[in-house]
């Protein structure tokens, strides 16, 4: 096992196909900048990452603006996101979102075409693990996935390594700085 590949829950043993670890912020930034059409899917747990210097909603909106991404909020946090005034924010529950992402014919939230990448952040670990596994097996031909949570998600195409939340906040801010150049 590579460093950082310990899963977020003890018995979540990855399958034969495991995520590629992105250990450096600049690699994450390059990925997000270069991938093309992408959607950031935000779960209701994202506020657990909040502290005085890191405001998750602001961060996600800034990130999305920087890479021209859509944001799909899956729960009640949508009301807070809308306050930020970014026009590409959508509301769709997580299960319905996964169902559409696994459909090669789906044209995205704006009807203009499918996504090249879905970025996940802010879910119960196991819930995200399962959603990502659904996409790993049933959408791999057209969709890549990236988990931005601070726990290694082996079923994503790309994942951050498991790390302390304080370190993760710095990592995320560095990602944003790299994107902004």
């Amino acid at each position: 096992m590579m460093r950082g590949e310990s899963t977020g829950q003890t018995a979540e043993i990855p399958g034969p196909i495991k995520a590629i670890l992105l250990k450096e912020p600049k690699r994450v930034a390059a990925m997000l900048k270069g991938i093309g059409r992408l959607v950031i899917i935000v779960g209701d747990r994202i506020m657990e990452y909040e502290n005085e210097k890191f405001k998750p909603i602001d961060f996600i909106v800034d990130l999305a603006k920087s890479v021209n991404a859509h944001i799909n909020v899956t729960g009640p946090l949508i009301t807070k996101f809308r306050e930020k005034g970014y026009e590409k924010i959508y509301l769709m529950p997580a299960m319905e979102t996964i169902d559409r992402l696994r459909d090669p014919e789906w044209k995205g939230f704006d009807g203009e075409g499918g996504y090249r990448m879905a970025v996940f952040i802010g879910f119960y670990y196991y819930y995200e693990w399962l959603m990502l596994n659904g996409l790993k097996h049933f959408a791999y031909k057209w969709l890549r996935t990236l988990s931005l949570d601070p726990l290694y998600q082996p079923n994503a195409t790309f994942s951050l390594p498991s790390m302390d939340v304080d370190k993760w906040r710095d990592f995320m801010l560095e990602v944003l700085n790299h994107i902004r150049g």
């Binding site: 003890t10 399958g15 034969p16 949508i78 196991y126 819930y127 097996h137």
Partner: protein, 781 residues
């Protein structure tokens, strides 16, 4: 109906000789009853496949594999990733459905074996001809049995034919899971539905048998309120704890106490479904500790003197836990013998002596000997309680701090915790004497003790949490209404029309286990929201208990505020897991009693009726078990949607509709045969919600049905819009799909909604008062 003729001669003396123990069984005698037999009496696996395929076209499976491998045969392990197939040829989609089927077979078999044992015990004690009397308001006594098997049972003995049928079918389904059997994922799913349907028959058998014969409430909306909560247990008395899902031990214990005038001398309390049965049988004596996740909590307090185990959902290490507190354990089910010596035929006093002296680690006394279980449990508790005084307390605060100081801060406890609770930080604070963070974990901890198993220092983390939460759990003093069993025929007559027309906005069933992602309070909060909105809220199992365990601002539980009637704003506790059959049974009864549809062996037509007209939705917020899976699948085959909580995503596949695919949402007008677009009603069949807010909005949406009148649809839309605005801040963006005519729009929201409809280009369309998905039913109405 089909009946078996049996007679038994214990002893006959005649001039020709002597006969002893002669028992004669003669096949089946077909006995007619008032309804003509429908097309599918005792359906085999393939007979309802057509109906299943209709549902599965609307709600295709969406897989989220829990494991990428298959390790069920010696070819394996096989990697099934992506497009690969295993050595047997199976792909990952079929493997997921296969595992779901396996889970549902386990679940159905568990209720079925339970029903078989219970019926045999009742026959042994009350005779095969004991009538199935469910009270003077229940004439349609067994909607599932009638619907599926075509049998109208009149006596306990009649239930055996239904049991025989279900046992045969479950065995066939289990065979389908063998290597080299079914290879198509959708056919696996059809079999999953079959398992669920069978499970509801098995549950119904179990619950009507015990309700009819034992002194349970019989469809009584005013079933008594009883105590629930750790704080209600009188620890000054000897304490017997029953746990699992079986009534026989409780009957034995209560009967013994009553016969000996000892009702006030011993505290008898229960957990999980056994607690439901305990209080249904003896509401004046029995108390409920709590749902299944309270079992280790209670044991860690050291309070129980005697633990009576039966079956289902019990921790398999309870005997080890009991040993730590020097409590005595009696196992009572052959399905769960715990390695104990069989004391079924021993003298009760000798068993008590052996247990108290620790000459045996525990005793197995078969459930059929309920009287003996009762006597042994009571006598052992009375003898043991004074000897165990030192165990009936939690460790001191100093001991807790000392344990906390051993923490290495490795964080393995958090990784092991299913809810990723911040245990490490709480221990960090506890080492400095601040136990508040540990107490904060109490609400969300499911007491699985995976953290303890992971801890390299063997810190008894749950015990630490319990000590820190001592003040909280000592205040757990609530009231729950005892499980009432079936829904009355008269209640169905009252609510049938408003439910089908949509004027009662829906029936929401809170069922299932206590594996909550965010604590049990969410279930009570959701239930209260629906009750305030005049939904009929039915509850069962552990969910029924969690709903009881919170008080509102007036200091009352929901059971004290809302009546137990099956009507708008009623909170209906049907009872234990097997009583779930009464919830689905109520939907079937609406088709029969209100709509006058023939029930007998007429599954597809009735399921079609329920799916298109009865606005009902299940919420299994803490679903954990295989039983929960099979219960859900029984609802699915009737076309009733089920929502699970986040942990329910581990059931590895959802059944999701796609609202934007217009072609999926057509029905036949049963009068004209015309195909009519209805909108996505209901949109999904199985759905794992992330938050309680999402679940509530989804549940009200999933209660919409094609048959809703404009008035009914307006009421349902009022709830949908109101909750969507409350939690998500705006009108729902799929609102236009549910509005057929302007009259559907809630009056108070008309302007706002019309503006939205204009923006999305909505056009008025017709309603379908007589919808059906079955072409063969056209013009039959």
């Amino acid at each position: 109906m089909a009946r078996r003729l049996r007679f038994k001669i214990e002893e006959l003396k005649s001039d020709l000789g002597q006969i002893k123990g002669l028992e004669v069984h003669i096949g089946r005698i077909v006995e007619e009853w008032e309804e003509p037999e429908g097309p599918t009496p005792m359906p085999s696996i393939a007979e309802l496949r057509h109906w299943d395929q209709i549902l599965l076209r609307r709600y295709p499976p969406m897989y989220m594999p829990f494991c990428d491998l298959c390790c069920l045969c010696t070819f394996g392990k096989c990697d099934l990733s992506r497009d690969k197939r295993g050595a047997c040829g199976l792909d990952i989609a079929s493997q997921q459905s296969r595992i779901v089927l396996l889970a549902c077979c386990i679940g159905a078999a568990t209720h079925l074996a339970h029903a078989r044992d219970l019926v045999e015990w009742l026959i042994e004690n009350y005779g095969r001809n004991a009538p199935l009397d469910l009270g003077n308001q229940v004439f349609l006594e067994a909607p599932h049995i009638r619907l599926v098997t075509g049998i109208k049972p009149r006596t306990i003995g009649d239930l055996e034919d239904a049991l025989d049928y279900v046992e045969t079918e479950v065995t066939r389904l289990l065979a389908c899971c063998h290597t080299g059997m079914e290879g198509n994922n959708l056919d696996f799913e059809s079999k999953v539905f079959h398992a669920g349907m069978l499970d509801h028959v098995a549950m119904e058998i179990a619950d009507i048998a015990q309700t009819a014969i034992l002194r349970f409430p019989k469809a009584d909306p005013e079933a008594p309120l009883v105590d629930i909560g750790l704080g209600t247990i009188d620890i000054s008395k000897p304490v017997i704890m029953v746990i699992g899902h079986m009534v026989e031990p409780s009957v034995g214990i209560i009967d013994y106490l009553e016969e000996h005038g000892m009702e006030n001398e011993v505290e008898v309390c229960g957990l999980c479904c056994s607690a439901h049965e305990l209080t249904r049988y003896g509401p004046k004596i029995g108390k409920i500790v709590g749902p299944i996740s309270w079992q280790l909590r209670f044991i860690r307090t050291g309070v129980p003197d005697v633990i009576v185990l039966d079956e289902q959902c019990i921790r398999t290490d309870l005997a080890l836990e009991a040993k730590k507190i020097n409590a005595v354990v009696i196992a009572t089910s052959a399905k769960n013998m715990q390695g104990f010596p069989d004391m079924t035929h021993e003298d009760p006093n000798k068993v008590v002596e052996l247990l108290i002296s620790r000459k045996i680690p525990g005793a197995f006394i078969h459930e059929s000997e309920a009287e003996k279980i009762g006597e042994v449990a009571v006598k052992a508790a009375i003898k043991l309680a004074p000897l165990r005084a030192e165990y009936k307390k939690l460790p001191s605060k100093e001991e807790i701090i000392n344990w906390a100081k051993k923490c290495r801060r490795c964080g393995e406890c958090i990784r092991a915790c299913p809810n990723n609770l911040p245990i490490k930080d709480a221990l960090d604070k506890a080492r400095n004497g601040d136990l508040r963070a540990l107490a904060d974990l109490y609400e969300r901890c499911i007491a699985c003790t995976r953290c303890e198993k992971a801890c390299p220092e063997d810190i008894p983390i749950l015990t630490l949490i319990m000590k820190a939460s001592e003040r909280i759990f000592k205040e757990e003093k609530f009231k729950i209404r005892v499980g009432r069993g079936p829904i009355q025929d008269t209640e169905i007559r009252t609510v049938g029309q408003p439910i089908v027309l949509g004027e009662i906005p829906g029936v929401i069933a809170f069922v299932g286990c206590a594996n909550y992602a965010n604590g049990g309070r969410e279930v009570a909060e959701m239930a209260e929201e629906f009750l305030k909105r005049n939904y009929i809220v039915t509850v069962s199992g552990c969910a029924a208990m969690n709903i009881a365990m919170y008080k509102n601002e007036t200091g009352q539980t929901l059971y004290e505020i809302y009546p137990g009637i099956f009507d708008a704003g009623g909170l209906v506790n049907v009872g234990s897991c097997v009583a779930n059959a009464h919830i689905s049974g109520a939907a079937i009864k609406i088709a029969s009693i209100f709509a006058k549809r023939n029930l007998r062996a007429n599954y597809a037509e009735i399921a079609d009726y329920v799916h298109t007209r009865v606005g009902a939705c299940g919420i299994a917020w803490g679903a954990m078990s295989q039983k929960a899976a099979s219960i859900a699948s029984g609802f699915w085959r009737l076309g009733i949607p089920v929502i699970v909580g986040p942990h329910g995503s581990k059931y590895r596949r959802m059944l999701l509709g796609r609202r934007e695919r217009e072609e999926n949402w057509y029905v036949y007008d049963a009068f004209t045969g015309e195909k009519v677009y209805t909108g996505p009603v209901p949109e999904h069949l199985f759905y794992a919600a992330e938050t309680k807010e999402e679940a509530m909005v989804m549940a009200v949406k999933l209660c919409m049905r094609a048959s809703d009148t404009t008035k009914g649809r307006a009421i349902k839309l009022t709830n949908y819009i109101d909750l969507h605005k409350k939690f998500f801040g705006t009108l729902p963006n799929d609102l236009h799909l549910f509005i057929r005519r302007e009259a559907d729009i809630p009056i108070t929201l008309k302007e706002e909604v019309l503006e939205f409809l204009k923006k999305v280009g909505w056009k008025e369309r017709r309603e379908v008062p007589n919808p059906t998905l079955l072409k063969e039913l056209v013009k039959k109405e």
